[in-house]
Symmetry: C2
Subunit: 228 residues, 2 copies
């Protein structure tokens, strides 16, 4: 049994996987923590610390084996087999997400799409026929859908999230700007670009030092904010 892995490290691993895959594709076989740190805009010490949670990869002075590390990171993340995905809401945002190249890739397979608009039901999105949202729970259960993306208007979001939870889904990405309520055993990641903008203005207006950007935009160091 290993040490606990902090969630912040788990959230960085996709970026490690992304970089390692690119290195593998161009034929790089090994890489040092210094070079990997430069690519991930972090320190060699942080790289070594992050990777130490997952066993021994590097030899002193030899660098990390790119293929081996890539395999391990994707294995730890549970990638390398497709996860089945459903989208709820096919407005502009939902459609852009699915049609945006690179969003649904080999790791995620879109198997169902839902909307409540009768203008949209029966049409196709991302190769999938749009179903009535009334069929949500039954379809999720029947098709074993594991992850849902919620892209409905704020006023409908909690109701949709509740239905997704009732259907047994344990992971959701929510784009509606609400503080969604989910049981403790369900993961919900919130994507709210407006709020990201609103929190940046704090640093702009005050001309305080910006928070140091670590990989994946996470801020780990405290910043010198103050009231003025």
């Amino acid at each position: 049994m290993k040490e606990q892995v902090p969630d912040v490290v788990i959230q960085r691993l996709p970026m490690y996987a992304h970089i390692l895959r690119a290195l593998k594709e161009v034929g790089v076989e090994s890489i040092g923590s210094r070079e990997l740190g430069a690519m991930l805009r972090t320190t060699p010490a942080q790289i070594r610390k992050d990777l130490s949670y997952f066993g021994k990869f590097g030899k002193q002075g030899m660098g990390y084996d790119v293929s081996q590390l890539y395999e391990e990171v994707t294995r730890v993340l549970g990638l390398g087999r497709p996860w089945s995905l459903a989208l709820i809401g096919t407005g502009r945002l939902g459609r852009a997400l699915i049609e945006h190249k690179g969003f649904v890739d080999e790791d995620f397979r879109l198997v169902a799409v839902f909307d409540k608009s009768h203008r949209r039901i029966g049409k196709k999105l991302g190769g999938v026929v749009i179903q009535d949202v009334a069929e949500l729970e039954q379809t999720i259960k029947e098709r074993g859908i594991e992850i849902c993306i919620v892209a409905v208007p704020p006023a409908e979001a909690q109701r949709v999230i509740d239905a997704v939870v009732r259907a047994g889904v344990k992971a959701m990405l929510n784009y509606a700007p609400i503080v969604a309520r989910v049981p403790k055993n369900v993961q919900l990641r919130q994507i709210t670009p407006l709020h990201a903008l609103q929190s940046m203005t704090y640093y702009l207006k005050s001309e305080y030092p910006a928070p140091s950007t670590s990989i994946e935009g996470r801020k780990e160091k405290k910043t010198r904010g103050q009231i003025n």
Copy 2:
């Protein structure tokens, strides 16, 4: 002079502002930390701690004055005056962002849009004529643009970000799945939904307890992840 305000608190403030505005609109005049905590899916203690950075708002047993707290939170964030915004990239994602209701609101005013495609230049998006990206630096300087949203393909993103930095912009939202390089005095927030999905599968596959969801999807408690 006050204590340092951690970035994680600053990142939560937009959600406070969001909730407080909604309360104000329905005529709620005061609210306790317990009720506010319930709405923000956090503890009363966390609410009191967050707000303690910004002075005295509540009286013992009286709750917080909603209007006063709303004004203070928006003032701290630097909202309440419009910030000028530019979008670079008018593909599906860029268009969805601008046309998505509620993204650009009274706090943010879209003043310029750029693309490199001659099919798009000269057309309008969000009420703004799309300009050639070659005019980026000059337009940003002339129009005093303060925040940029980068929604271009990954292969072009770093070059665009460099141009935005050269033009003097200190805050960016980047949607391209790259580890972008910016100077220390520039804030860059990365929005990468694919990576959010990839980090959730860690918890799904392992059936470990999900990280406790705090407001705005931030995870502050460490989780009991392990390798299996």
